[in-house]
């Protein structure tokens, strides 16, 4: 402002304006979930004449914890019986007398024809393949037996991996390994297949959240 050639600072006559301002930005992260997704099936080949048990990696899966809670979690495995359906009604070139007319259902009804139902044993649980397993996450129950259920349903779950409190957030690729026992005198040559189910549970020993 000018007064006959004399200038007064503008701010002496008006309130000064702020040229800076401060506020806050908040990012609220909400809890995700526990998850397990199968990556690939496990498979192993062994001659009937070889010694039992045979070591095998089991199905590979990605385990995830995006709950952001640090509550810990555990993973269990449950398996059906190892089942070879291709043997039904076709043994050494001739139909099996009990399977001629009940080819696909007979195996459920006559336990004597359930070839290859075996217990899956996982012993090498110290071996792991994870992208982030660290302190607090570990494989558990080395040497325990995962008892098979039936040919079509899985048995009881056995915990094989767990994450302690305040650990285990993120995703992990886990490859459990074990041994599969068989009897070369009683089993057919062929593919025995078991279902493997892996629920994931919050906190070791707490409620399962996954499928079973």
């Amino acid at each position: 402002v000018c007064l006959a050639g004399f200038a007064l600072p503008f701010t002496t006559l008006t309130a000064s304006a702020a040229t800076t301002a401060t506020s806050t930005d908040t990012l609220i992260l909400t809890a995700g979930a526990l998850s397990v997704v199968t990556v690939s099936a496990g498979s192993v080949s062994a001659a009937l004449s070889s010694s039992s048990p045979v070591s095998s990696n089991l199905a590979v899966a990605d385990w995830g914890d995006t709950t952001g809670s640090g509550a810990g979690w555990n993973g269990t495995m449950a398996v059906s019986l190892f089942n070879d359906t291709r043997r039904l009604g076709q043994e050494r070139g001739r139909p099996h007398p009990h399977q001629q007319h009940q080819r696909h259902v007979y195996r459920h009804r006559d336990p004597g024809l359930l070839r290859g139902h075996r217990h899956l044993r996982h012993r090498h649980l110290g071996q792991r393949h994870g992208d982030r397993l660290g302190v607090g996450q570990h494989l558990a129950n080395n040497g325990s037996t995962a008892t098979g259920g039936t040919a079509t349903t899985v048995g009881s779950g056995v915990k094989f991996v767990s994450a302690a409190l305040n650990t285990g957030m993120g995703s992990f690729r886990v490859t459990p390994s074990g041994t599969i026992a068989f009897d070369g005198n009683l089993d057919w040559a062929g593919a025995y297949v078991a279902q493997v189910s892996r629920p994931c549970a919050i906190r070791p020993g707490r409620r399962p959240l996954g499928f079973n």
């Binding site: 007064l3 040229t19 506020s23 990012l27 992260l29 909400t30 995700g32 982030r132 305040n166």
Partner: protein, 263 residues
């Protein structure tokens, strides 16, 4: 009082002269920022990123000179300092807040386990992101837990027992977590004929520390126009985080704006 009255009369005379007898003269450019509104957004941890906006504010150029101006933004780290929760034992904390976590981990945690309590003083072990020992410290004030700003305040009226256990989650997202993202920002003209546009899209707004803002980055520029102009501006940003390495909770950053002359 008499002197004050004389002074006020003098001002009145001066004001009258300003209105009736003065010639026009240049006026200093007046830039301002006002009414910043805190911003908040919610996203699932599993998503991994968020495209959104920083606090909206009113940016204004009230000069008649038509000088170009630009705006800058500076931010602290996105900080989570949770609250203490009892995880074992029978005694609780009335004050569950902590000092601001100043470390570099996005997913830190501290577990304090009481070992003894004399009534006035407490001893405890600290585990988790840091390992430390609290030895016979007064309960009357917050006690440092480790070296990264976290504190715990025990109740003076409570005698804690061996095994009382408390946990807190904390973290700071990386300094590079935030980048300008004009697509999710907005510029609304509120006055004048100036034109404003975002700049430096995709550039990281580097966070400072948990408590101090980092280097300012220009995010909006104007052409300048006679008569000035005003805008309500929401700077767009993209926040990226490691979903494997964060807690569920509220990460908060302080946002500082400045308005400066020049394009």
């Amino acid at each position: 009082m008499r002197r004050l009255r004389r002074t006020l009369q003098g001002v009145a005379v001066l004001s009258g002269a300003l209105v009736t007898g003065l010639m026009p003269c240049p006026v200093r450019a007046t830039l301002s920022i006002a009414n910043p509104s805190p911003s908040s957004a919610t996203v699932s941890i599993a998503t991994g990123l968020l495209d959104g906006g920083l606090p909206a504010a009113d940016w204004k150029d009230t000069s008649a000179a038509g000088t170009a101006w630009h705006g800058t933004v500076a931010v602290t780290l996105l900080n989570l300092t949770g609250t203490w929760t009892k995880t074992a034992g029978s005694h609780t904390l009335t004050v569950t807040t902590s000092g601001t976590y100043t470390g570099t981990s996005a997913q830190a945690y501290y577990v304090v386990t009481v070992t003894s309590d004399t009534g006035a003083n407490v001893s405890a072990s600290v585990t988790g992101s840091e390992t430390a020992t609290i030895t016979n410290q007064a309960k009357s004030s917050p006690i440092a837990v480790g070296t990264r700003g976290v504190t715990v305040k025990f109740d003076t009226a409570v005698t804690y027992t061996n095994g009382d256990n408390f946990t807190i989650h904390a973290g700071n997202m990386p300094a590079s977590a935030m980048a300008l993202h004009p697509a999710t920002g907005s510029i609304t003209t509120t006055s004048g004929s100036e034109t404003a546009s975002f700049t430096n899209g995709g550039t990281t707004v580097t966070g400072g520390t948990a408590t101090t803002v980092g280097t300012a980055l220009a995010f909006v520029t104007t052409t300048g126009a006679s008569g000035g102009g005003g805008f309500r501006i929401v700077p767009g940003v993209e926040i990226t985080y490691d979903r494997n390495n964060v807690w569920a909770g509220a990460y908060v950053a302080t946002v500082s704006y400045s308005i400066l002359t020049g394009p």
